[in-house]
Amino acid sequence: MDIRNFFGAKKPGGSKAKNSSSSSSASKAKESASKRKSPPNQTTNGKKQKQRQVEDDAIEVKEISPTDFFADAKKETKKKSSKTATPEKKPAKPQGKPKAAPPKPKADVSSDDEPIQFIKTMTPEKKKKEVVNIDDDGSDDKDEDYEDEVQDVTPTKKKPPSSRSTTPAASSSSSPAKRARAASPKKKASPPVKKAKPSPPPPKKETIEILEATLEKDSFDVDSSRVPEFMQGLTFVFTGVLENVARDDAMDLVKMLGARVTTAVSSKTSYLVAGSVLEDGRPYTEGSKFEKALEKDVKVVLGEKKLYGLCHLYHERAKKEKGITDAPPAPSKQAASPSNPYAKKAAVSNPYAKKAPVSNPYAKKSVAVNPYAKKAGSSTNPYAKGSSSKDQSSSSNSEVATKSSNDPNQLWADRHAPTHTREILGNKEKVSKLQKWLGSWERQFNNPAAAKKTWSKPGGPWKAALLSGPPGIGKTTTATLVAQEAGRDLLEFNASDVRSKKALQNGLGDLTGSQALNFGPAAGKGKKAPPKKLRCVIMDEVDGMGAGDRSGMAELIQMIKKSKVPIICICNDRQSQKMKSLLPYCMDLRFNRPNKSTMANRIVRIAGMEGMEVERNAAEAIAESCGNDVRQVMNCLQMWAQKKRGDGSNDKLTYKGMKDRQNSINKDEILRVSLFDAAKTILEGRKGLAGASPKAELDSLYRRTDAFFVDYSFTGLLVQQNYLKVLTGQRKNVVDVPDKEQAYLERVHDAAASMSDYAVCEHEIRSGDLNWSLLPACSVLAVKTGYHAGGEDGGFLPSFPEFTAWLGKNSSKGKKQRLLDELHYHMNFKISGDTQELRQNYLPVLRQHMFSIFKDGSDAAGIISLMDEYGLSREDVFEKIDEFRMGKKVPAFSDLDSKQKAAFTREYNKGTHKSQALVAEQGGPAGRKKKGGKAEKDPADLDAIDEDGDVDQESDDDDDEAELKKLQEKFKKKGRRGAAKKGGAKKTTAKRGKK
């Protein structure tokens, strides 16, 4: 390919402008920040001309083919990131090329001498310009392009190629070395860059950058790549929305090529891949990642086409390297290594060949059973060295197993279980805390001298420890290893043991007070007794002590209090209600999931031991897909290995293959999602799907419909609460663009319509005939709402989804309804309207009137007679009527001067009133005279009056308020747990139905 080709494509308008902005070096940008707003056009223009010339020159220079540049580039990159280090052999070619190239650049330089100087003096100005560009970025125009070019030119002279735009400015002022560095980052992929080509020898790196910048491709086919993982050692960060490809797909692409993808820009980042706009519609230049990239001199790749181009460049380079050196195939990437050790092993160990009845105690042949591991009330038996119990924790066993690894059927999770505490992944600090605690236990609690025996204080000392954390991250392993390393005799109880009060008393009662049976070296002649064998009890899965283990928890706590033996409890969910009582007695150690890069290291190592090759990215992806559950990762790997053996394929585990098959080994992702995240998934609709394959689209649709079921009684409400937020976020992009605005409004309509359809369905489900078969329809309608709200490209919910307001609103609606009913009940001997009438016509007038009387002065008698006329009590006026104000500004009775109110009350209490009579008539308690209003709340009263279901309403209502409060608290506390129950009057009945 001839670079010239790319020239034609020169100005992609807007994108170019953006590019330019990106190139400004951070430091400069900062300096110039103050000057930003004044773009010095003149200077730019003046330079433009020169630039043009320069550009022409450059074009000629460009004759060099990209491959040549690669040679240079290669070297450079090598230096830069030693990871790529290619074997030294290649030098021959590369060197030759660079030399060829240099002369041209020189020419450029000379011609540009002047400008350089100029620039130097002008630097500040320039900076300004650059900055300006950044600011308007989106609006681009020719001017900017020119500016870019100008800038580019300047740099060229000094350090030829640097990304055309801003960088140069920065470099101009700094020392060459510095410049070189500065230049590299900018390579912003915009067409004009080409001029940069005059790559002079020193800044060779830039050459590749330039090429990268120039090259645009429509795609990059991973399968066609002959060099595996040729992008190893590079680190990418993604920002913004790529036009035609989903960001996840783009990430997958580079991961498949061996690069790393991180979320935040750091100095180790090689490229920032930017879409032209961010998710929320702002130009990417406003994003914090972009700014960070400037600061850190990270190169920016704009748009997926340039990304593809970049891939091609690296691919070419890798191929070339490979071709040239031949012998050492792919540099640094052992990828190509042909012999797969895995292949051999396959024959040796086929886990499926013979399904060993590992866990059948009656099968005489089974080698591995340790009956103690499973039997109720028993424990792993430390004396049984040969046993390789299933229990992952009994590490002495697994150690043996690892060494011999005779049994091909053994679970990898066991075979490769840590055999020493230092091998435990992550949570180092907790492990050492536990070790320390165990180490000082005897001194603390079994020492007659230290008679201090407090243990339930929040600050400790504790007689027991509680390890908590998600499954598969090594809690049990930690406990076992720590105890073993402390030389303790280990007893383990887990969920398969009966742990009722009685069982615990029998199993543990004496044990916590007794020494372990130990026949140490015989006691010498004298007094010297063998050292006492210390022990340690592990209560695994204590949160699983359920109904079957009656009073088990209470007994456990009693035991902890008395125990002369350390007890290590293990649970998953320390928040659980069951754990509450235990918490104060235990040292709290919360285990976190090890992070994926730590896990990836171990995965690669273990896979190596099993003769399997695993790409690092693939390892990380596995870790991620398993939710950082070490045990599951091992199981996945083993399954994978198995499958491969079955297929006879010896390929190593690549990121690509991983992605392809991930579905089969994924933990059900959506089930790990919180209610709010689920709602967000639905609300953002097709986000990230632009340009995705039909399969990806379908997957996404399934995922969204599944998300609805995270909590089907709440997700809909959350969608309802938030879908308009998604829409309003997009409004600024369409406002005043007639076509778009029209389409936008139609979407609002569609979304609202499907939300209302949803409500109809939901009503059918919750009320009357409980038509639960409509639930799937609900799910689809919720997703439809999200689709319309997000539009074709998906929406963006700017913040965390709001908790649904419907519950509260519904509750206050119920309350007002009730108050209105009461008022109506009091007044209905006088007025003829129904409650609606009362609300709409009577109340506003009535309150207005009363209020004016109040205001006029204290004509208490007037008000009282009015009240009596309508049968209103004092509470009716001061509390209930206040509820029916429209808007906060309307004055309320409760806001009246308290003296005035007190005077009125005294006056009112002097006489007797109709409202009181009414209460008495209804059989209200005499004592409640003054609280006549309250008395009516008796359901009995209401019953007497309205029979059309309002009673239900009310009682439901009270429930609701209480329940709502509880719910909200619950959600505040643990928004992540989706196990919410539903409130709402409508739902109360439904819930009963459900149960």
């Binding site: 005489k364 059973v369 009956p371 079994n446 007893l491 009662g509 049976l517 026949f519 006691a523 007794a529």
Partner: protein, 258 residues
């Protein structure tokens, strides 16, 4: 091939009964000279060792050492069906996965046979050092059983102290304390009533009564029991089975209360 015929079948029944409360699964180790069982309880507080020499059997044949893993509860279910005067025959193939039990009535008019499935149990034999003990007490097993039973009413920890005057079993509990002193009585008329104390130096140890109670299940095996103690090491409570065997219990002392 393993084959053994025990005329006095009830002995085996009693052995099983005496260990089944402590041990759920254990290996019946058959060697050329004897059948033995060694197992710890689940909490690793106590250990049972049983030995029944080949001399106890009418017919004994064991071609090669063999470990038969049994579940004591199931074994005991089968032995429930044994009449007290029945003869028991054990049979097991070397690589078989079942143990055949043959119960023959005295008059040869009933024969019952059972097959008990075997398990594979991983258990590493503990080497029990042959230590000289500071104190050893020989007393009637019935007496010991009674003492343990009585003391259990008062508390759950029993202190056994052996001094000049005799052996003192004492217990302290919520409702009070109790002491039972047994004096040496080497000259009792009947041998089975003798109490013999052989003491080098006084020893005092605490034990969980619950376990002692389990041990007394072996009372019917023997007329007398031998208790051997040294400070800080497990106590040994031995029930000899005539001349050809024993049931021994080891129990770790309780952690000293302070």
């Amino acid at each position: 091939m393993f084959e053994a015929r025990l005329t006095n079948g009830v002995t085996m029944k009693q052995i099983i009964e005496s260990i089944k409360d402590l041990v759920k699964d254990c290996n019946l180790d058959c060697s050329e000279e004897e059948i033995s069982i060694q197992s710890m309880d689940s909490a690793h507080v106590s250990l049972v060792a049983v030995r029944l020499g080949a001399g106890a059997f009418d017919h004994y044949r064991c071609d090669r050492p063999n470990a038969l893993g049994i579940n004591t509860a199931n074994m005991s279910k089968i032995f429930k069906m044994l009449n007290n005067d029945d003869t028991v025959t054990f049979k097991a193939e070397d690589e078989g996965d079942a143990l055949t039990l043959l119960f023959e009535g005295q008059k040869n008019d009933t024969i019952a046979d059972f097959e008990l499935k075997l398990m594979d149990i991983d258990y590493e034999q503990l080497g029990i050092p042959d230590t000289p003990y500071k104190c050893s007490i020989k007393m009637p097993s019935r007496e010991f059983e009674r003492i343990v039973r009585d003391l259990q009413v008062l508390g759950d920890t029993c202190t056994i102290s052996c001094g000049k005057e005799g052996v003192r079993f004492s217990v302290t509990g919520n409702i009070g304390t109790g002491n039972i002193l047994t004096r040496a009585n080497a000259s009792a008329e009947k041998e089975k009533d003798q109490v013999i104390i052989d003491m080098e130096e006084p020893v005092e140890l605490n034990f969980a009564l619950r376990y002692l109670n389990f041990f007394t299940k072996a009372t019917s095996l023997s007329d007398h029991v031998m208790i051997s103690m040294s400070p800080e090491v497990p106590v040994v409570i031995e029930y000899p089975i005539q001349d050809y065997g024993y049931v021994k219990y080891y129990l770790a002392p309780k952690i000293e209360e302070e």
